[in-house]
Amino acid sequence: MRIGVFVCWCGSNIKNTVDVDAVTARAKTMPQVVYAQDVQYLCSEVGQSEIGQAIDTHRLDRVVVAACSPRMHETTFQKLMAAKGLNPYYVEIANIREHCSWVHTDKEKATVKAIDLVKKAVAKTAFAIPLTSDQLPVTKRALVIGGGIAGIQAALDIADAGYPVDLVEKESSIGGKMAQFDKTFPTLDCSACILTPKMVEAATHENIRLYTYAEVAAVSGYVGNFNVTIKQKATSVNPEKCNGCGDCVTKCPKKVPNEFDCGSSKRKAVYTLFPQAVPNKPVIDRDNCIYFATGKCGLCAKVCQTGAIEYQQQDEMIENQYGAIVVATGYELKVPDHLGEYAYGQHPDVITSLELERMLNASGPTSGKVIRPSNGKMPRRIVFIQCVGSRDRHDGNPYCSKVCCLYTAKHTLLLNEKFPGTESYVFYMDVRTAGKNYEEFYERARQQGAMYLRGQVSKVEPLGDADNRVLVRGFDGSLQRQVEIAADLVVLATSMEAQPNAKTLGGMLGISTDLNGFYTEAHAKLRPVETQAQGVYLAGVCHGPKDIPEAVSQASGAAVKAIILFNKGQVKSVPTTAMVEKDRCSGCMQCQPVCPYEAISQEMVVERVHGKERQRAVATVNRALCQGCGACAGLCRSGAMDLGGFTSRQLMAEVDSL
């Protein structure tokens, strides 16, 4: 065996803290190392060709690269190995940048550590075995989870590329949060006017199949071959028969708060989510339906001329195969009643931004009029409070919800335009307008009269006057003093939050959530729509707070990722799969239940013992299913199960090298 060691300076990144010369010199004395060299930038073309030349000149068959994290450049070096006719898994990386030079200051100690890390890599690579990957077919159908604007966009893009898409939405209509909005910043386009055509397009697209009022119940499989169980909740209305006349809705005697209007209006127990709903077929909310509670009523069934009402409908489990999954599950708004100082839920005139949005909407509960919920009169003085539950480590979410600055500016503008004479005061900590034309939009809001006060509100309380106004106590950082404003209406910019079931769904999909419950992308900068799970992509706010254009562009990005996968038509299997040493294996199958991919099964092998054939059970790994976690190898008693790239021999060698 002829191991070559290459130590990277990474410019000054490594060289400043690690004595690169010493590491190289020391590497030369390590077992089986026949060549060592330091290079300024190994990842550069020059660096790569240096390695290439050394492989030729010194007939190297294994390479150790002491440089940055393998998560950074492992593929780069693996490709180089392949180009040199060596197995890509014959290169081992010693992470002397992220794990050494960047985290230490004492050059002497850092050098000792770097040497150890190189030693470890040399020890590991000495036992490397060649690994290859297989080509696996891809099911060319995509699943989009979530029918908000991001999900719709992703579905449309994939469908337009010619691939079938299933769009799963938990509500009875697609549209998501955007359907609730009145206008969109910074253009003040009517939200419905730009959304509805997309919804209709999605519903009518020949490549798109909608599953509304449905949820993902189970996911198994892997990239290119996911098996997904969709739970189609019973709508109690036969969509084939229903003609959407709405008679059932009119006749339904049961009224419940309308979630779509944040509870500020009523809907029936049989209802369509909103007038432009797609599909525009009502569903029966069984939790509130009198028939389902008592077995009596049945008015809707009586009035329905097409006989579409079907009380006996059952939830249905539908199983489908997909090659790729786009997650676009969106967000929820944090109900701000946890912050007592803002009196939300205590004073009717303290409302959330979405409630104001609904009021501003012509099809909303007030038909576009802004009123004080307490008395129905028009408010003259409105106080907006920013960062309610956002940027709040103590009692909310630590992150910035990103869109509140702009929609508040939008609200002040809309108020000023629709109802001249209203005064808008905005209490804020920072105003963030990073986005095309956002600063201009904000400026416009100020120019139109919105009064911005830098400082947070500490208390909202009843003023006790005849108008039942509220007193907002805040601070003006410019004037350096406390200020009090008697307001008619207080609007809270509530925080965007991950869906409460994000973690559960993430668990099914094999993608992780960050501390805030948003899905984690594969790489913060370079792979922002991919996830750790191959074939699962992110779109929209489920990944973190975003505005509409961002959500839409990410959705298109996710769609393209899926399309790329479908165009290729094949995926490469993970090369670092589990493998069974059949001679050692007892066939006890303790490993079988450990495998999350059901990749392990039992097979019978025939051996010859003293000239006689004998059958024996052993475990066997389906390389297509195995994702290479090694949980089986960690459990195997006899050591028959091993993991390519991380064999027991290699890991032991690493442990022994230290």
Binding site: E98, G630, L651
Partner: protein, 144 residues
């Protein structure tokens, strides 16, 4: 000599997807921590065999850190649950045998918890320094 700080040797097994990434992020963020740790990369914390942990101790490690994704965040779905169970039992058995279970840590460190990685390594190093050297699990033929 007595005043000299004992510099413990720490062997860490970090899962590729969370903890190794967390350690990488600590590097990217230039977060400083003691030099005592040597990280072995594993695809999942469940790949670590009990034998490897004991082997590290035999070879003179003063502490072994297993770091994986937070429960529920495992890249492989369930791997860290297995780790959790195995290490739980191992810790308990080590305690039962008086083999200093406090020298074996299992921690959940996600890919964006660079600060937690830093804090964990720093705290572990400090605690091991305070504990000093131990020969309870070391093969006496291995130097410290």
């Amino acid at each position: 000599m007595m005043n000299e700080i004992y510099e413990p040797k720490i062997v860490a097994f970090c899962c590729n997807w969370c903890s190794y990434a967390g350690a990488d992020l600590a590097g990217t963020g230039r977060l400083k921590y003691p030099e005592n740790i040597r990280i072995i990369r594993v695809p999942c914390s469940s790949r670590v065999e009990v034998a490897m942990i004991l082997r590290a101790f035999q070879n003179g490690a003063d502490g072994v850190l297993i770091a994986g994704c937070h429960p529920g965040d495992c890249h492989y779905d369930t791997g860290n649950y297995h780790t959790r169970k195995r290490i739980h039992l191992l810790t308990s058995l080590m305690d039962f045998m008086g083999l200093s279970p406090e020298r074996l840590w299992l921690r959940w460190i996600s890919g964006n918890e660079a600060d937690k990685f830093q804090a964990t390594v720093t705290a572990f190093t400090q605690e091991l320094r305070a504990m000093g050297a131990s020969d309870k699990v070391r093969d006496l033929r291995c130097s410290r």
